[in-house]
């Protein structure tokens, strides 16, 4: 019974905060409305007894949304929404596309004859996940690891204004780097 109540509260909350993302003027509010939406979604995941997944969504989304807000504030005009503005462009088209997508997805949910899994539910899904990562899904993890490494390198290449040649000299022969703000290791 109470699971039903919590589910519907979260469902309504997730949709409402999702709508709020496009209705508010401020980048900070938009980002945290999105975060609220994720939190509601995470609770529904907890309701179906996927404890690890639900808590992980909470953990990751909080961190990621806070980082997102840094960038939203940094790069968007008028981040606090102190001047009136709108978060949407091409309002009619966007509305049509989203309504259509919603209708299609809802239809799929109800019309497709979803198969039911014959396998028994693992006692501890997190444990099963661990086994999968180390076993059959090993390749996925390794590929993800390399992709993350590539992400770090690309990010650094693209985002840093000064590289090692600016810091250590053209021959990389300076003993301590020359930086505008001193750091903690290396000098």
């Amino acid at each position: 019974m109470w699971q039903q109540i919590v589910f519907w509260l979260c469902a309504a909350g997730a949709v409402a905060s999702g709508v709020a993302v496009f209705r508010v003027d401020s980048m900070a509010r938009a980002t945290f409305a999105l975060l609220a939406s994720f939190v509601f979604a995470a609770v529904t995941v907890l309701l179906v007894d996927l404890a690890y997944l639900g808590v992980l969504v909470l953990l990751m989304m909080i961190m990621e949304m806070v980082i997102m807000v840094l960038f939203m504030v940094m790069y968007m005009m008028n981040p606090a929404g102190l001047m009136p503005m709108t978060m949407v462009h091409n309002q009619k088209g966007a509305l049509g596309i989203s309504a259509g997508t919603f209708a299609v997805l809802t239809a799929v949910v109800y019309l497709v004859d979803w198969p039911s899994s014959g396998a028994a539910r693992p006692a501890d899904p997190a444990h099963a996940l661990g086994e999968a990562i180390m076993g059959s899904k090993m390749l996925v993890m390794i590929v993800v690891g390399l992709a993350l490494f590539a992400t770090i390198v690309t990010t650094v290449v693209l985002a840093t204004h000064r590289g090692r040649y600016d810091r250590y000299g053209d021959r990389l022969d300076r003993r301590s780097p020359d930086d505008p703000v001193r750091g903690g290791v290396g000098r």
């Binding site: 699971q3 404890a51 993350l148 650094v156």
Partner: protein, 118 residues
């Protein structure tokens, strides 16, 4: 209780809401006066020339991107901690090779000065 003990969390949320209500309500009862609005933020005795809420230049934004990439490892590492004892040496090697690859990325970033304020 279903939901794996998270029912307690809901109860705590309700309880903290009660505590907050009591604090704010108590403050409402004993306060000296109504809330003052429109106060200028403190700026060493000056009036602010601009609204502070602006495009804040985050000097360490590369660091946040490196963090985002690195923290994906959490997704794997928490479940991995559950099975490492059973799966043995293979699991240890696989995970720490994975982490070593990421760490190599961090060392590269350090050399490029990406861990410093620009």
């Amino acid at each position: 209780m279903s939901m794996g003990g998270f029912g307690g969390a809901l109860l705590v949320v309700a309880l903290v809401a009660g505590v907050l209500g009591a604090l704010y309500g108590g403050a409402l009862l004993v306060r000296l006066g109504r809330t003052v609005t429109g106060t200028r933020p403190f700026l060493s005795g000056h009036d602010p020339a601009e609204h502070a809420v602006s495009r804040f230049h985050v000097r360490w934004y590369t660091l946040t991107m490196i963090f985002l990439a690195f923290d994906m490892e959490m997704v794997f590492m928490y479940p991995w901690a559950l099975v490492v004892a059973e799966l043995g040496t293979k699991a240890v090697i696989e995970m720490f090779v994975f982490l070593a690859v990421l760490m190599a990325g961090v060392v590269y970033a350090w050399r490029e000065g990406a861990l410093r304020w620009t």
